[in-house]
């Protein structure tokens, strides 16, 4: 088995209610963090995340900001977990991704998701019901844009006449990752042969069965996924001792799961139905279940190594180590990244 890769993220650039910051401070900190992890070498990828029109300024323009990250770094790959592709114009994403890839010398891992918040689709006057065809046609627009020659695409969502997108990406086969939440999205991703990013809401058993489903589907359809990567988002935190790690990370993790993800109806109850602020008891229970999942990658290096090995054993090949919690002291945050890079990753 190839060694599992570890990326870090997911940078959202939020000025939250509990930790309000000037946005310029947050963006400067992102660039400093990017340089910091770039120099640590063992961390493979820096991951960004996107939302639109959210009250706390959640970053809406990932590829633009990726231009800044590319300029700040030399080695690290730059990924999106995820760019909400159905909320965008595919031709614009095609151009911007190609430019980021050239600027960075081929370091882009383009991670795409559907998007789900009604308000975001409203902002761009897009009917949310079209998000799946927009996604699928959009992928085709990307592929044709990056291939030699003009695009020529006519679909129900996008029409691109006889124009050639330039520049092309640096990478001949620019990696596309797809957020796959649930069985049908996993099957669709396998059909595309895309790398996948699995949800942070999955237990280890669920991860194993989802990954198995991905490979089985690809085999049934005869799709070559030998180069595809299986990514999973896991929240995590490393400190000198377990107690220190828990005391630093747990309150922030709880806030993240309960208030943030809860606000988006991202968490699910035991029947798999989305829960939001309208069902506080179920939301508390869902957050508690997830804290138990993510606590396995919070602690001293030995504990986190064990937690990451468990994830790798499910067949996952890239772990997005989610270290971005609200309002944690910066020095402790940088120390956590350093421990991850020097004491954890080399020993997984």
């Amino acid at each position: 088995m190839a060694p599992v890769e570890v990326g870090v993220g997911i940078w959202s650039l939020q000025s939250t209610k509990a930790g309000p910051r000037h946005f310029s401070y947050l963006y400067r900190e992102l660039m400093e963090d990017a340089q910091f992890v770039d120099e640590l070498k063992t961390i493979k990828t820096i991951w960004q995340t996107e939302h639109h029109f959210w009250y706390d300024g959640y970053c809406p323009s990932l590829l633009t900001v990726a231009g800044g990250i590319a300029a700040a770094t030399k080695h690290i790959r730059i990924g999106q977990s995820t760019l909400l592709f159905s909320e965008h114009e595919a031709l614009r994403v095609a151009h911007q991704a190609a430019v980021v890839d050239q600027l960075s010398g081929g370091r882009l891992d383009l991670g795409l998701g559907l998007g789900y918040r009604d308000n975001e689709f409203d902002g761009f006057n897009i009917d949310r019901r079209t998000r799946r065809p927009r996604f699928e046609e959009g992928i085709e627009v990307l592929r044709r844009s990056w291939a030699d020659g003009p695009v020529n695409f006519e679909g129900t969502q996008f029409t691109v006449p006889d124009v050639e997108v330039t520049p092309k990406p640096y990478q001949r086969d620019l990696p596309i990752w797809v957020a796959a939440v649930g069985e049908n999205p996993i099957k669709r991703a396998a059909k595309m042969g895309a790398s996948i990013i699995l949800s942070d809401a999955l237990t280890l058993d669920q991860l194993s069965s989802h990954i198995e489903l991905y490979y089985r589907t690809a085999e049934e359809l005869g799709v070559d996924v030998s180069r595809a990567k299986i990514g999973v988002l896991r929240r995590g935190w490393v400190a000198e001792t377990d107690e220190e790690a828990f005391s630093q990370a747990r309150p922030s993790l709880k806030f993240l799961l309960r208030e943030q993800l809860g606000g988006w109806r991202y968490l699910v109850d035991e029947r798999g139905e989305p829960v939001g602020f309208d069902r506080p008891a179920e939301l508390d229970a869902a957050a508690a279940r997830l804290i138990a999942v993510h606590e396995r990658t919070i602690g001293r290096p030995e504990r986190v190594i064990r937690g990451l090995r468990e994830i790798a054993a499910t067949g996952c090949t890239h772990i997005i180590f989610g270290t971005r919690f609200d309002s944690l002291p910066r020095q402790k945050y940088l120390r956590s990244l350093e421990l991850l890079a020097t004491e954890v990753i080399p020993h997984i």
Binding site: F53, A66, G67, Q96, N119, D122
Partner: protein
């Protein structure tokens, strides 16, 4: 008068690949900052056969990251997509740069507008600007026009039901984002209607520019009257031509193939009324002409041509910063000090 570097075109030329020229552009931005330029400008051209940079916002973010003080000129093409995307991107770059962005919205050519299924009419560009300004302003807003419905009113959007306004996040760092309009006759008309600076691309001749700039008087009201020019400077005029002539000719051949220009003339014909190539005195004399004829008070000088050796460009940026900029910026510069450099 103020000075910027650019608009940078960033196409692979002179045997360089894209990675080389993007890095070269970022280094040139830093050099311009060092030698006292006010701004660095990143252009964007779509569907060009010679692969010009196609995303101003991505490279503006990169310039913002590498620099500390210069303003970052971002030139998104308007009218192609929902203006909300442009508003968000510019706000992000403004925060990366801690409030240094100037947005010069470009008006697309017919061919580019067709490729995007967009528009390049005065009405559309004016409408896009209205969306940009509302997005950057402090209040949640709604905007209903022939071109935008913000927010959309879509029955199935249960969560969004009843929310009749939207707030673009993050807000720019600046209180008010400087906004210019760049392009030809349509852009000049839009700029006039909106009473914002019109920013002529470098390829127009002085004669072509006169009607666009008529009535723009910068003498007493502090109004910015910007202009872009293809400029190259060297210790002697002969050297300047020798170094930059072929590179500028190659750039114009590329622009012609891209349809940005509808003519591909001999270099000698192209130079007249268009390029500023020479020693410091030639450059100064020529810039006075633009100041006097058009009331221009903000010159964005290209200086950077990727077909050239990057070292020659660095020297030109330095020489321009030391020998030309002071003439226009240092009002009252004593003659004894002027002669030192």
């Amino acid at each position: 008068m103020r000075f910027g570097l650019g608009p940078l075109t960033i196409e692979p030329a002179g045997g360089k690949n894209h990675v080389d020229v993007y890095e070269e552009a970022l280094e040139q931005a830093v050099i311009a900052e060092w030698w006292g330029f006010d701004s660095v400008w990143v252009g964007e051209h779509n569907f060009t056969p010679d692969s010009f940079n196609s995303s101003s916002s991505v490279i503006a973010a990169a310039v913002a990251q590498r620099t500390t003080f210069v303003r970052v000129g971002m030139m998104p093409t308007l009218g192609l997509v929902n203006a909300m995307y442009v508003a968000e991107e510019a706000a992000c770059v403004d925060n990366i740069s801690n409030g240094r962005v100037i947005v010069a919205g470009q008006v697309a050519s017919d061919a580019v507008a067709r490729g995007w299924g967009g528009q390049n009419s005065v009405e559309r560009i004016v409408d896009d600007v209205a969306v940009l300004r509302a997005s950057w302003g402090p209040n949640p807003f709604s905007h209903h026009s022939d071109f935008h419905t913000i927010p959309g009113e879509i029955d199935v959007h249960v969560q969004a039901r009843g929310l009749d306004r939207i707030s673009v996040q993050p807000k720019p760092a600046q209180l008010e984002m400087p906004l210019w309009i760049s392009g030809g006759a349509t852009a000049a008309q839009v700029a006039r209607e909106l009473n914002v600076p019109f920013f002529a691309p470098a390829h127009f001749t002085l004669d072509e520019l006169r009607p666009f700039y008529a009535g723009r008087d910068s003498s007493d009201n502090g109004q910015i009257v910007p202009i872009a020019r293809d400029v190259f400077i060297a210790p002697t005029t002969e050297q300047a031509y020798e170094l930059a002539g072929p590179a500028i000719a190659e750039l114009y051949a590329s622009l012609s193939r891209a349809g940005v220009l509808d003519h591909n003339e001999d270099f000698d014909k192209l130079v007249a009324g268009r390029f500023i190539i020479g020693d410091p005195d030639v450059c100064i004399t020529s810039l006075y002409e633009y100041q006097n004829e058009l009331n221009a008070n903000y010159v964005v000088a290209r200086l950077a041509y990727h077909a050239m050796h990057a070292g020659e460009t660095s020297k030109a940026i330095q020489l321009f910063g030391q020998a030309v900029v002071p003439e226009f910026r240092m009002f009252g510069l004593p003659e004894e000090i002027r002669r030192v450099v």
